[in-house]
Point group: C2
């Protein structure tokens, strides 16, 4: 059996391990918290820091392959492991491009991949030189995750919120839709695209309400989006799973927002909705099996379960019973003992071929199910 390690032990690792149990593979997880969501679902757990060279190197030495569930890993250690014959998914070279938002933006431009205009800033005071560039999103070059490390700067009054370190200032485009395409790339370069997912936002709060798959977009836009997603992964030159997040602006231009070189929140519905889920697919890639089938079994919507504001402590799931009574929902709770405001605690997938039903039940789940303490 192949020995495969995962850097990071959060919910993505947990769902990877659920899928791994369908294949002959010995699994290893490296993570600081030995009670993390993935700690008890792997063959071997190692307590350690995924950003520490020695921890990653010693963890990876002797494994056949290694993958990640978060970008903030020690790339130097992965490079050394790669040079010593450990297969790394995604390649450290691709991770290096994506991990730093400045390098990532440059990569799009160098490869003629459409993306929103941007400037690079190295401290807060520089922002004063770019007032005419606002409104813009200020994004930390490294270390942002799950909404952290991003600030919207509308005008001069917002400059105080800007980052005083290396960052990208991205011009805000007027967005009609936000979509994501999960792409699988095999070791042999073969690829497979999942149908695009549409993000539905609460316009008042600018918060993601739910996701719909497939996205409701014109065929012409789908073709553009797929061509761009393929251009991204081809130029990254790496096997693995990639989530290419795209904006569609009011003129129907398709622009890359950002790319994640790993299984991704926008692919969670594939567990039930697709023949081969994004998690199954990554194992197929790592274990050198043929790529899976990305077609939807049924259309889907997906709601994230986020820790409610003002609650911190042992998690309780309000109205979980009511949600579990709905026939066509699939509940995934990540087993995190403690909830915190904004923490991702689970997700719920809805299957139906009726778009109105997908929307209706997603809204109902969103209203009912609350993570409190």
């Amino acid at each position: 059996m192949k020995k495969v390690g995962i850097l990071g032990g959060g919910q993505l690792g947990r769902m990877l391990l659920q899928a791994a149990a369908n294949y002959p593979v010995e699994t290893y997880v490296l993570e600081k918290d030995d009670d993390c969501p993935a700690a008890h679902l792997c063959t071997h757990f190692t307590k350690g820091s995924i950003s520490d060279f020695d921890d990653v190197y010693h963890f990876g030495k002797g494994l056949d392959a290694i993958t990640i569930e978060i970008e903030s890993v020690n790339i130097e250690a992965l490079k050394k492991l790669e040079s010593e014959g450990v297969k790394v998914y995604p390649r450290p070279s691709a991770l290096e491009i994506i991990k730093n938002k400045i390098v990532q933006k440059n990569f799009y431009v160098e490869n003629q991949i459409p993306t929103s205009p941007y400037l690079v800033t190295s401290n807060k005071s520089e922002l004063n030189n770019h007032l005419s560039f606002l409104p813009a999103a200020h994004k930390l070059a490294e270390g942002g995750y799950d909404g952290r490390g991003v600030e919207i700067l509308k005008n001069q009054n917002d400059l105080e919120k800007g980052f005083d370190e290396s960052a990208v200032l991205e011009k805000l485009v007027t967005i009609k839709k936000e979509i994501s395409i999960i792409v699988a790339v095999g070791e042999d370069g073969k690829n497979a695209l999942y149908p695009p997912v549409e993000m539905i936002f609460n316009k008042d709060l600018n918060l993601l309400e739910y996701q719909l798959c497939p996205a409701n977009i014109a065929e012409k836009i789908l073709w553009k989006a797929e061509a761009i997603a393929l251009a991204v992964v081809k130029n990254l030159k790496s096997p693995g799973i990639f989530a290419v997040e795209l904006f569609i602006d009011i003129d129907d231009n398709v622009l890359v927002n950002e790319t994640a070189p790993r299984v991704h929140n926008s692919g969670h519905h594939t567990i039930e909705a697709a023949y081969s889920s994004q998690f199954d697919m990554l194992w197929r890639i790592i274990l050198a099996y043929p790529l899976g089938y990305t077609k939807q079994i049924m259309n889907s919507s997906m709601v994230n379960l986020i820790g409610e504001e003002n609650y911190k402590g042992e998690a309780r799931y309000e109205n979980l019973e009511e949600v579990l009574q709905i026939e066509n929902v699939f509940v995934h709770i990540y087993g995190k003992k403690e909830t915190r405001p904004g923490r991702k605690m689970g997700h719920v997938t809805v299957l139906s071929n009726e778009r109105q039903e997908l929307i209706h039940i997603a809204n109902k789940v969103k209203q009912l199910l609350k993570v409190v303490s």
Copy 2:
């Protein structure tokens, strides 16, 4: 989080734990082999014997609930645990009825549940008194599993194969079809039936070829079968998952073959084919959630992967890549390091609404995929 233990660490435990990772629950497994399929997917693993009173009692003490993946467990320990407040699924009283095939047969008769005629034997020589009862199946009262403990006695020449201990001699009925119905029973007595599964046998070898769901039976027979399955679980008076295996004879009589008080091989297709799988369903019952939805998402067939004759040693899966190339198959390999002739090593589910396609692909998988060493 509730603490729930599983007695036994085989593939049923493994699939239960895959499903458990969707809910907030702390899982415990008791099993002699600390490298068994379920050993690395639980929060806490305990090495010990599921048939030993002390091992089971000490394992279960302090847990909120306990369930089984095989019948050959120490029932006395489960009774003591139950009396001390641990919830047991199924109830030890139901397990006692089912564990011993003589008691099980008597239970059907006492409750007017149709089953094939039978006699009780306590040693091999008694079989000579029952020659006119042949052909019959001789089944060990206790300890049979996975085809072991059953001998077909056609005539006097076969008597040597009979068991020299407590056993049931079941008259062979002329079977038209063999089906199975999985029934879920909640703590409150509510129940839910899955669509029946049809077993397709190789008539020459009398070996299960594959299973189809739903079974191809007339509505009148479906009603009979469902009524009988419900009568079985109602009289067992226990929450849990039950597989009621039924014969349909040439006169369209429906007879109970036997009942398993746990998740069952004939329910494996529900992982992909049903909204709530049998594994998901058992967690819903144990965690006091509402029962799940038993409707099929799509029709299905299922093929067991059995260790080939003449191979013993580290398992290899011949033609696995070819099978993984088929778009609508789902491969489950149980991660057992060693194959042995007849050992259950995995299963493959096929989804399609075309019955001919289900049969065609099941046969193809059966022919291609071989477990060798």
